[in-house]
């Protein structure tokens, strides 16, 4: 992106100028082009938001972060740390001495500076997402060393920064810019503009400012990770055509070039362990594939793959069945195949699906594919930890398939009475629980209004007077689903108002939503409840549920009276547990 292109992007008006999103840019130098590129890349990634960047104080990084923490209108902080922030003598503009006199004190002063910056960041992380780039510029020639040799003080300074970042990176709200990624975008030798640094205090070349701005924008506006990956088998999952060479002769072992398929299997296994759904769509003889999946040297066990669609029908039909079993839409899924024709057929039948070609025998191509897969499925920011629910997902989908089969066979009413369903309502949800915000921001179908919230906005909603929040956990004899619903709202004059209500699609058809409504009426003892509903392209299941209590499907905010609820509510068989008392602010 050139500076002109960045300015053009910034000049274009966002669709809704009211949706403002303020980001503090903390750096101790003149932000100049970094500010411009950060704004432009944020706009590119989230065109609906009206981003404005608030630069901090020149020469005072820690002070800028501290000031940002006390600014209520901010929604995120971007930090560009440089060596001069550890000690101003590590910059070019400071008059202090270089050489032995600096070496004797630098480690101590750097340690003190990192402590202050770290403490300010930790305070910020309580309420705001923070993205940080660690020092990106080369060291100045402050210490003695022959060309090609690194000075001991530089090594220790790098170690101090690495330890500082590693400690902070354990906090869910912090994202650290990957220096390897940055090096690909902006080579080290072309990062420093010494003239610009000395004349106006802006040390980054245009290219480097663009790269750092792009990286920080990525971290502050992470894309929703995909949820599932569907893979072909022959010449993708393994080398060879299993129907031709037989189950024992397909390969992925270390004899080149078959190991590329082994690396792909390892990646799939890692994704499965992180809660990503993995399925197979292959045109093959099912019995032959079944035999191949009994091989003990597979790098992802068959138990981590569901469903396995193996037959001779078009792959688009397999994908349709897999999406139905997973109950997710095509745009949340990647399909990997070595054949362009199969990818084209899948893309045509399932608009939005991410089609990725497996470039067998192309080492660089496979590495690029594995990196792309990692990028598409990576969780970032507050939701990046693998949760219990992630680990439960595959099991609950399998049990969900069994649930549906038995429900169809047994008749819904009798069936639900016998499944030993247990619901736990947790009114004392930890704000640090990443599953809560993740559910709110990724649930589409049973979602009261589709509103996505940042960590800061969520915090603000919950700190309001008379606000309440509870999470719902579910299990039955088919297995544990974990935390599957979140309800948030506040008490009003004559009842309660529900602002957020999301429920995982894995929990449908169990009358959990009815039990939630019953709980709201009983706990708060109110005659009616107002719901801040808004129709979205995908929240039909929520709309249909509420339509059962109204004369017609809702279009905007509506209320349900307790009498009406009780006259319409079907029998409920759940065993209900309240994990804590009602927790209401104020």
């Amino acid at each position: 992106m050139t500076i002109s292109e960045a300015l053009e992007i910034i000049r274009a008006k966002p669709p809704d100028p009211q949706q403002s999103y303020e980001v503090a840019l903390a750096c101790s130098f003149t932000p100049l082009h970094l500010q411009t590129f950060l704004t432009a890349y944020l706009r590119l990634r989230k065109p609906a938001l009206n981003f404005s960047i608030k630069p901090g104080t020149f020469g005072d990084l820690a002070g800028s972060i501290e000031a940002a923490v006390s600014n209520d209108s901010l929604q995120a902080i971007a930090i560009a740390l440089e060596w001069q922030d550890l000690d101003s003598r590590l910059g070019y503009r400071e008059a202090g001495n270089w050489g032995p006199s600096l070496e004797t004190v630098i480690l101590e002063s750097a340690d003190a500076a990192l402590r202050r910056i770290g403490a300010a960041i930790e305070r910020a992380l309580d309420t705001l997402p923070v993205a940080i780039s660690l020092p990106t510029l080369p060291f100045p020639p402050a210490f003695q060393a022959v060309a090609g040799q690194v000075n001991e003080s530089e090594l220790v300074l790098r170690q101090q920064v690495a330890a500082f970042a590693a400690r902070l990176a354990t906090k869910p709200n912090l994202s650290v810019l990957n220096s390897d990624w940055l090096a690909e975008e902006s080579p080290l030798g072309s990062r420093l503009d010494l003239k610009s640094d000395l004349l106006i205090g802006s040390p980054y070349t245009l290219r480097h400012a663009a790269a750092v701005g792009s990286g920080l924008a990525r971290l502050l506006t992470p894309a929703q990770p995909l949820k599932g990956i569907i893979t072909d088998l022959d010449d993708t999952f393994w080398n060879g055509l299993v129907g031709e060479v037989g189950p024992d002769a397909v390969r992925w072992d270390s004899a080149s070039p078959y190991q590329l398929h082994g690396l792909y299997q390892k990646t799939l296994c890692a994704l499965a362990d992180e809660g990503v759904l993995v399925a197979i769509a292959s045109k093959n003889d099912a019995a032959v594939v079944d035999e191949a999946f009994r091989r003990p040297d597979l790098l992802i066990p068959a138990s981590k793959i569901f469903p396995i669609e193996v037959h001779w029908a078009p792959k688009s039909e397999s994908i349709a069945r897999i999406l139905k079993a997973w109950n997710i839409s095509a745009d949340a899924v990647a399909f990997v195949d070595d054949t362009p024709l199969e990818l084209a057929e899948a893309a045509s039948a399932h608009p939005g699906i991410h089609c990725l070609r497996f470039p067998a025998r192309d080492y660089a191509g496979v590495l690029a594919l594995l990196k792309e897969i990692r990028d598409l499925f990576a969780k970032c920011g507050v939701n990046r930890r693998v949760t219990d629910e992630d680990r439960l997902r595959l099991h609950s989908l399998r049990s969900g398939a069994e649930f549906s089969k038995q429900a169809e066979a047994g008749g819904s009413r009798d069936f639900l009475r016998d499944i030993e369903a247990r619901l736990a309502f947790d009114f004392d949800v930890s704000l640090a629980n990443p599953r809560i915000l993740e559910l709110v921001n990724k649930t589409n179908q049973f979602n009261l209004n589709g509103i996505r919230v940042t960590a800061a906005e969520w915090q603000k909603k919950l700190s309001r007077r008379a606000a309440f929040l509870f999470a719902v956990k579910y299990e039955d004899r088919f297995g544990r689903l974990g935390t599957i619903a979140v309800i948030q709202g506040h008490q009003a004059h004559c009842g309660i108002e529900v602002e957020t209500w999301v429920m995982s699609c894995r929990a449908f058809s169990r009358r959990i939503e009815h039990q939630c409504l019953k709980l709201l009426f009983e706990r708060f003892q109110v005659p009616c409840i107002e719901f801040q509903f808004a129709a979205t392209r995908k929240n039909g299941p929520a709309r249909d549920f509420f339509a059962g209590f109204l004369d017609a499907p809702p279009k905007s905010t509506f209320s349900i009276a307790r009498d009406r609820f009780e006259s319409v509510c079907p029998p409920l068989y759940h065993q209900v547990e309240h994990l804590t008392g009602v927790n209401i602010n104020g």
């Binding site: 500076i3 002109s4 300015l7 000049r11 100049l32 411009t36 003239k195 610009s196 004349l199 802006s202």
Partner: protein, 80 residues
């Protein structure tokens, strides 16, 4: 209006989006409040992009009006 003037006007439109087009040819640092030191450097960078030339940061102080920048560009580009 010659080609250089047209392209320079485009640069001014990018850096000073609120400046009316009619006022661009007479614009100067004293008549445009938004033309501060940051905008002056940004303008140089945008001109570098547009005309594929290298400009010295130290020129920012002298190139303080549309007319002066246009003259500078006429000199630079005719010398190529």
């Amino acid at each position: 209006m010659d080609e250089i003037q047209k392209r320079l006007i485009k640069c001014f439109q990018i850096v000073f989006p609120d400046l009316p087009d009619a006022e661009i040819p007479t614009a100067s640092q004293s008549s445009v409040p938004a033309w501060d030191s940051v905008a002056a450097i940004t303008l140089l960078n945008v001109i570098e992009d547009e005309f594929q030339i290298t400009m010295d940061l130290e020129m920012a102080a002298d190139l303080d009006s549309f007319r002066r920048i246009e003259e500078f560009l006429q000199d630079q580009l005719s010398a190529v």
